[in-house]
Structures are given as structure tokens and as C-alpha cells.
Symmetry: C2
Subunit: 326 residues, 2 copies
């Protein structure tokens, strides 16, 4: 104790100097947010200032010595409102920093799912509505996206000609332009949604190539992002074993298996993976297992920022299941 006449004590309110008798001698209060955050980070990282280590030692050795610590507490009491205020600043900063690219992926893929759902509802309405005008067209065009596109581009007469019908043979009513315009407006809005979906997909491609190139190389953007959204983050995904990844997206069937002993699901989101889709019926489970295993490796490599081995892993799957990647 004799070797240090003064002791330094820091918290997020500021730095304080105490003498041998634990009386406050001097202080510097933090003013800028940067100072506060820097100090909080130091404390977190266990870079404790000398006095704290010293007190900790004492605490283990002689508990009675802790009375002296309470002196410091008493001295510090007047700075408690400041500590409270600064703690809030530091916490807000923590919240701010917790937003990672993982979350952007989750939001974007959830939105892609929602766009799929909502654009389907609206495309169905357009089909119903447009069928009063030209019922033959809806049947001849099962693809919603193309249906919407052609509705905007081409008039009734063009479409009739393409279907080799004349207007007298069509069951559609001759609606005034006012009514048709409303349908075209609806179609344009749906097209806007498809455009947004494409934008989101490209955006996902960009951030996933940066954040998890190995995972993306094997799973593709959309399946990769879906696995992400269920796991919540790359960190959580990297901690999952292959067997868990295999059934992500099939939670309902999986828990039914655990509860009632029904057959376990063979795959969740991976059902849309080309290696699984193209496998024979009896091999689908095997393919899903292999893809999931490689994905588990890829997620770990991505999380610890390893080299790019996605192409090698993918080739192993290709070799085994004859899946040709595009």
C-alpha cells in the first residue's frame, strides 16, 4: 500500500483519484460520448485500472478491508446521476453497434417472402377481375408474372389475335376504358412488387457474397438467406450441427416427430435445393443430409472468416449426386 500514494478509479462517469485513506483527491468527468463509450469498452474488456484489481485481491483476502471500499462508494454517490446518464449513452451505443449485416439479410428475406405472399393475393384478384374482360387469357397463361406483364403491354385485340380468337368468340365483356384502366393500374402495382422482389434478391446476393461466400456458394442466395432468417445470425448458424440445418424450415414436422414418434422430416428449406430437387425420390434424404453437412462446414468457415472453400464443397455434392450447378 505504501508504494502507491494515490489510486486511480474509473467508471463511466469519469476517472477519480483517491488518497491512501480512500478520500477523493481529484477527478476528470467524461463529457463527450466518445470518452464514455471508450471507458465502458475498457471496463468490459477487463482492462481494469490498478485500484480495482487491488480491491478484488483484498476482497478475497480480508473481507473487513472492504469497508474502505464503501468509503469510495460514499464518495462516489454524488456522481451517481452522472453515471446513470452516461450508462444510458453507453447502452444506446451498444444497441447501435448490435445492428449487423445479419439482420439486414433476415429483414430482406422476410420481405421477399411477404412480397411473394402479397403479390400472389393481388395477382389472383387481377386474374379474377381481368377474366370479366378476357376470360380465355387467364387460362392460357399460368405464370403470374408473365400474366401481369402482358396485361399491361397488350390490348384485348392483340391478345385475341394471338389466341386465334375473334372478339365475337370471346366470352369477355366489352368493358369501357374506365374499367380496364383500373385493372391496368392494379397490374402495374403488382409489377412494382415483382421489381422490388428482384431488387431485394440482388441486394441479398451482394451482402451474402460478402458475409458468407461459402454458404452462398453451396445453398444459393434464397435458401441461404432463409436458413439465416431461422437461425437468426451467422454466429448461431455456425454453431448448428448439420443435422439441425437439414431440418431447418421443417420445425412443425420435426416436433411432431419428437412428440408423437411420427416419421422425422428429411429436409426443410433444403427441399428447394437443386441437388435435392433433382435427386431420385429415394435419394432425396441422402442428398439433403450431404448438403446440410457441407453447409454446416461452410457456415463455420464463414463465421471465422476462413478461406473460400465453397466451390470444393459444392463439387463434392455435385460428384455424389450429379447436380450441375448453373
Amino acid at each position: 500500500m505504501a508504494m502507491s500514494q494515490f489510486m486511480l478509479f474509473s467508471n463511466c462517469a469519469g476517472s477519480f483519484v483517491f488518497n491512501n485513506n480512500y478520500k477523493l483527491r481529484d477527478k476528470i468527468l467524461y463529457k463527450s460520448n466518445k470518452e464514455i463509450i471508450e471507458c465502458c469498452r475498457m471496463i468490459e474488456n477487463n482492462k481494469e485500472t490498478p485500484i480495482e484489481k487491488h480491491l478484488l485481491k483484498k476482497y478475497h483476502a480480508v473481507k473487513a478491508e472492504m469497508d474502505k471500499f464503501s468509503n469510495i462508494s460514499k464518495e462516489m454517490e454524488e456522481f451517481i446521476p452522472l453515471m446513470h446518464k452516461n450508462s444510458i449513452i453507453a447502452t444506446k451505443n451498444k444497441v447501435k453497434e448490435s445492428v449487423k449485416e445479419d439482420l439486414m439479410i433476415v429483414q430482406a428475406i422476410c420481405n421477399v417472402d411477404e412480397i411473394d405472399k402479397t403479390s400472389n393475393i393481388m395477382a389472383k384478384r387481377l386474374r379474377e377481375w381481368y377474366s370479366y374482360y378476357l376470360p380465355e387469357f387467364s387460362d392460357s397463361m399460368p405464370d403470374n408474372e408473365k400474366f401481369v406483364e402482358i396485361t399491361i403491354k397488350k390490348g384485348k385485340n392483340d391478345l385475341l389475335r394471338e389466341m386465334h380468337l375473334d372478339s365475337e368468340n370471346s366470352m369477355g365483356a366489352d368493358l369501357p376504358k374506365e374499367d380496364v384502366d383500373e385493372m391496368i393500374e392494379l397490374a402495374k402495382t403488382i409489377q412494382e412488387m415483382y421489381r422490388l422482389r428482384e431488387k431485394h434478391t440482388k441486394y441479398l446476393e451482394r451482402i451474402m457474397d460478402r458475409l458468407c461466400p461459402n454458404l452462398t456458394a453451396i445453398a444459393g442466395v434464397l435458401i441461404g438467406a432463409k436458413l439465416f432468417s431461422i437461425a437468426g445470425s451467422l454466429e448461431k448458424l455456425s454453431k448448428m450441427p448439420g443435422s439441425t440445418i437439414q431440418v431447418l424450415g421443417a420445425e412443425k414436422a420435426f416436433f411432431r416427430h419428437l412428440k408423437t414418434g411420427a416419421k422425422p422430416p428429411k429436409y426443410g428449406f433444403l427441399i428447394n435445393h437443386p441437388a435435392v430437387t433433382n435427386a431420385d425420390r429415394k435419394d432425396k434424404g441422402k442428398a439433403a443430409r450431404m448438403v446440410a453437412d457441407k453447409l454446416a462446414i461452410a457456415a463455420k468457415v464463414d463465421f471465422f472468416r476462413g478461406d473460400f472453400i465453397g466451390d470444393k464443397l459444392r463439387k463434392m455434392i455435385e460428384k455424389r449426386f450429379g447436380w450441375k450447378s448453373p
Copy 2:
């Protein structure tokens, strides 16, 4: 019988001339769709050609005479494929003519409902996503439409200034432009949906003012259109008593009432009618009943194309319940 040496028989295949022995003497086959449709309409409207009336009379008098009719049938047999073809043309035309403005109203209001639902889903997603960027803003702006509008218009710094916050106090992350752009794109698509909803509302206003001015004067466009969509057409709505109109939109509660004897619903869609909304709690049922009664009258007047009495009916409600129409 002696007075007519030849008899004329028409169906949708053509007009046929028979002699006294019911042998075919001459024929004109219909070629253009117009001729076919005209003929079908004639037959429907009971403007039967002489021979048919004649046969009908015979049928009632002496059934044995009908053998002669079967002669005609036999003669006609070769024209059956033509009849079949022409019947299809006439039927298609019927289908074509069955599309009335009623259906447009139903489609438009259903679409407005769906836009409400889908735009809400997407606005919720935007709020969640945008909150990573600027969490303080979402709480301060409960209205979705305004939230979307301001998100597009204003940058983060403008918004922070408006909320008297500096960027260090905000919990939002400083996201790169790439991420923010995706959110703005989403907001733009939602705005597109709001724009479409407004267009549809104006369109509904136009056709409803034309088709059912009395109904619209009392119920307003959106409630009127909803009543329409449940009833299916103006004709069906005009046949409903006021008590049915009162509970349209509350089918679930109404059938629960019939089944279990629970309390009957007081109103369905009419809950949003200003006279009901503004009435005291205990008067809401009375207001709904009065509005429904006047709507029943209005629907009947509209269907039979009577004079405009909507303003008179509305004033009666206003007088009784102090509802001021806008």
C-alpha cells in the same frame, strides 16, 4: 291446317320451312353471330314463330299428333351439329352480357380490402427494418401512410433534427447507403399501393354515383361498396329487408346468435357509418337500424331507377341522430 300450306320453324341453327307433311322444303342457316343471338333472344322472349304455337296447341289437344313433330325432329337431325355450335355462340354472348357494373364494384372493393391487408403487412415490415436505422421515429409516427411518406422524403439527419435528437443520442445504427436504399425502395412500393387504393376509391365513387346514387348518398362509397360485395349485386341488395342489411358483415356473430342464442349483433359494416360511430353507446343499435332501413329503401329506388331521394333520407337520419354529413 288447310289455311297454311307451309310452316316456319326457327331455332338457333336457322329458319326452316316445312310443308303440310312436315317435310323440310326450304331453309336459311344463320351465319353471323348477330343473327344467331338475335334469334335466341326472340325465342327467349316467347316471340315464338307460328309453327311452335301451333305444335304446342296440338300437344295439349291430341298427343298422338306429336308424331308429326318427331318428323320435324328427324328432318332437323342433320342440323344438330350446327345448332350445337350456334348454341355455344349464343351462350358465350349471354356470359358476355352478364358482366355488369355491379361486378366491377365488387372487384374494386375487394381489391381495396386486399390492398389494406397487404400494405399493412409491408408497412409493418418497413417499420421493423427502418427501426434498425432510426428506432425513435417509428414510435413517434403511428400512422402508416405518413410514416411511409416521410421515410421516402426525409433523410435521417432531418428526422433527428425534427425530433430534437442528435445522432449520438439515437439508438439507430449508421447503415451504409446500400442498406437504406432497400428500405426506401420498399417504402416506395408501399406508397404505390396507397396510390392504387386512392385510385380505386375514386373509381368506385364514379360508378356508384352512376349506379346507385341514393345508396351512396346515405352509406358513403366504401360502406356502400362493401354492402354490395356481400350482397353480390344491386338486384340482390334491393331485395333485402333493412334488418338483413343491418347485420351484413356480421355474419359470424349473427349465425352464432341463431345457433347458440347468444346476443344478436347490432351492426356489421355499418359500424363504420358516421351516424353509428358518433352515436352514444346505447344508441348505436338504434342508429344502425335507422341507417339500414333507409339503405333498404335507397337500394330499391336505385334498382328501379327512381328519382334521387338520397338527400332526403340522409336528412332524416341526421335529424334523428345529429350526424352531420360532410
